[in-house]
Assembly symmetry: C2
């Protein structure tokens, strides 16, 4: 097979993050699930924004963060996601393209505004997310460029795509094209409440081999198999006979296949500031290692390294070149 134009293509919700420090009592007053993502409508977003403190605005979106992380590792990357042609949309487009990512999805010229995620960061570094999907609701199968999907070795999809109705169809269409071209398809389960909303469909995606690689954190995995016991969930995951990756915050990560399981410790950090993007950047590091043919344990180490970078500052996109960071830590990627 000839070398492919892109190593990873992401399909996801294109979202601008609006981040503020918050005390725990604000979460209680607003009745928010700490550490999770809640969908809000435009008015709900406006009300919560009023209650928030001074904000920092950066581009976000789970799969988009992963793709920007991959580009920072020097991986040839592309993204598909829907923006409105407003200030936030133009900023998102600027940021992802200036990160070296191929991004050509046409702007919506009318309809809802570019999606925003209002993120409350509590003193423990945990983030609680409230998403107004806006223009993401217009992402549909027509936005899936067939040639682009065929041209990427790995297609990376986020579970959050199940929230906007038409995006699910874009997801299924893209996965079909990728597999027909002999490419691999990866999925992140996104959020335990998202898993709760679409559990049967996610299990179906796994069991029909619509996806080959699945990223989950410990909460999402327990939600997937409806068990409080982590070991039970991991055993069920192993039986799926896919390439599974489980992230466990400060306890590191696990790579789970039917035949083998590897545990990799978390990378050390100086100070936890904002966990936003930890899982997204873990996926970036892991996929960077995977597409460059690293051993799975080293891919997980690269994931841990990228996650450690992003949780030490506000925002879900890396502030340093991840290829440099990898090299400094003895994990330089093969070309």
């Amino acid at each position: 097979m000839a070398e492919q134009k892109f190593e990873v293509l992401g399909l996801g919700n294109a979202i601008v993050d609006v981040i503020a420090a918050a005390e725990d009592d604000l979460l209680e007053r607003e009745n928010l699930n700490k550490g999770s993502m809640t969908l809000v409508d435009e008015q709900g977003a406006a009300l919560l924004y009023e209650a928030m403190g001074s904000t920092t605005i950066t581009s976000g979106g789970s799969a988009a963060n992963t793709i920007v992380g991959l580009a920072s590792f020097g991986i040839r990357s592309a993204f598909i996601g829907k923006l409105r042609s407003d200030d936030a949309g133009h900023a998102f487009s600027h940021d992802i393209r200036s990160s070296g990512v191929h991004f050509e999805t046409p702007f919506a010229v009318d309809g809802p505004a570019t999606a925003r995620c209002l993120i409350l960061v509590t003193p423990d570094g945990e983030r609680t997310m409230n998403t107004y999907l806006g223009a993401c609701q217009n992402l549909g199968p027509d936005d899936v460029d067939e040639n682009l999907v065929r041209s990427a070795s790995v297609l990376y999809l986020e579970g959050y795509l199940w929230d906007p109705p038409a995006a699910k169809q874009a997801f299924v269409k893209a996965a079909g094209i990728a597999h027909a071209a002999g490419n691999r398809v990866a999925l992140t389960l996104s959020d335990p409440f998202c898993v709760d909303r679409y559990r049967d469909e996610f299990l179906d995606l796994i069991r029909t081999k619509t996806v080959d690689i699945v990223f989950a954190n410990q909460h999402e995995l327990r939600s997937l198999y409806q068990t409080a016991d982590f070991e039970t969930a991991v055993n069920a995951f192993r039986e799926e006979n896919i390439l599974g990756i489980v992230t466990r915050s400060e306890h590191g990560s696990m790579v789970v296949t039917r035949d083998e399981t590897w545990s990799v410790p978390a990378s050390p950090i100086e100070r936890l500031v904002d966990t936003t993007g930890a899982g997204d950047l873990f996926a970036a590091g892991f996929l960077a290692g995977l597409v460059r043919g690293c051993e799975l344990k080293d891919a997980a180490r690269l994931g841990g390294l990228a996650a450690a970078e992003v949780i030490q500052h506000y925002g879900a996109r890396p502030l340093v070149r991840l290829d440099d960071l990898a090299a400094e830590n003895g994990l330089a990627l093969p070309l």
Copy 2:
């Protein structure tokens, strides 16, 4: 005299900061003065934005940063500055009000967009600023609310107000009202190139006692007196017979009066990330101490503490409560 409604009122350019990491060679290609502020027009800002990497957007503006810092110290604070009623303007307004600052300057409903400052942060943590003044050009004497100026013990003005033509008149009007009400007037010299543009006018403000308190960093002070020798500049500053404060980055600060000079070391930091706002937050800490009757040395220590907080993360506004930080460092403010 009855207790005044506000302890400090700031008058300044209301600006949204657009921050990106940059290598030194980008500064060279764009012909930018490292560490300084350059004015750019709308097209110049658009071209530089295209050349910048992924951005973090926060509210900024020198005097506005100081006023938000004061509010974070628990000081009753207000601000006057001109915004356009666009997304950036609404974000600035949200941020400063959510920080506890009284801010009621009416939005411009047409004309240029809300001002933006494109900030390039190099690996040494130094920031290089490029400002499109936009709506700030519409700040004028009519925006100076006389009752508000009278109601604040200290009026804080930025030298940058000399750039938009009508703002200078607002500055002079506000200073006159403040002095007539028996309040004090403070000025920051803002930037060495700004001093170069308006040296004679700034010296005139000092020598006519239009201002009583002057903040300068070492570069601004040397520019004011057109000397390469720091000691010569400090001696000239002393002769002005005002309350002078000189900031010297990692070498701490000096309080300079005609009769006495105190040197105060810089607060220790773990990691220099982005120097944006260092001078602004120093002024916040110093003024907080001053209006609460601390000794001048302790006021300078409070300034150093606030500056140290803001240079350890992106953005020019504090991410923690400065009154808590002061208390943790044995410098709790008197009520």
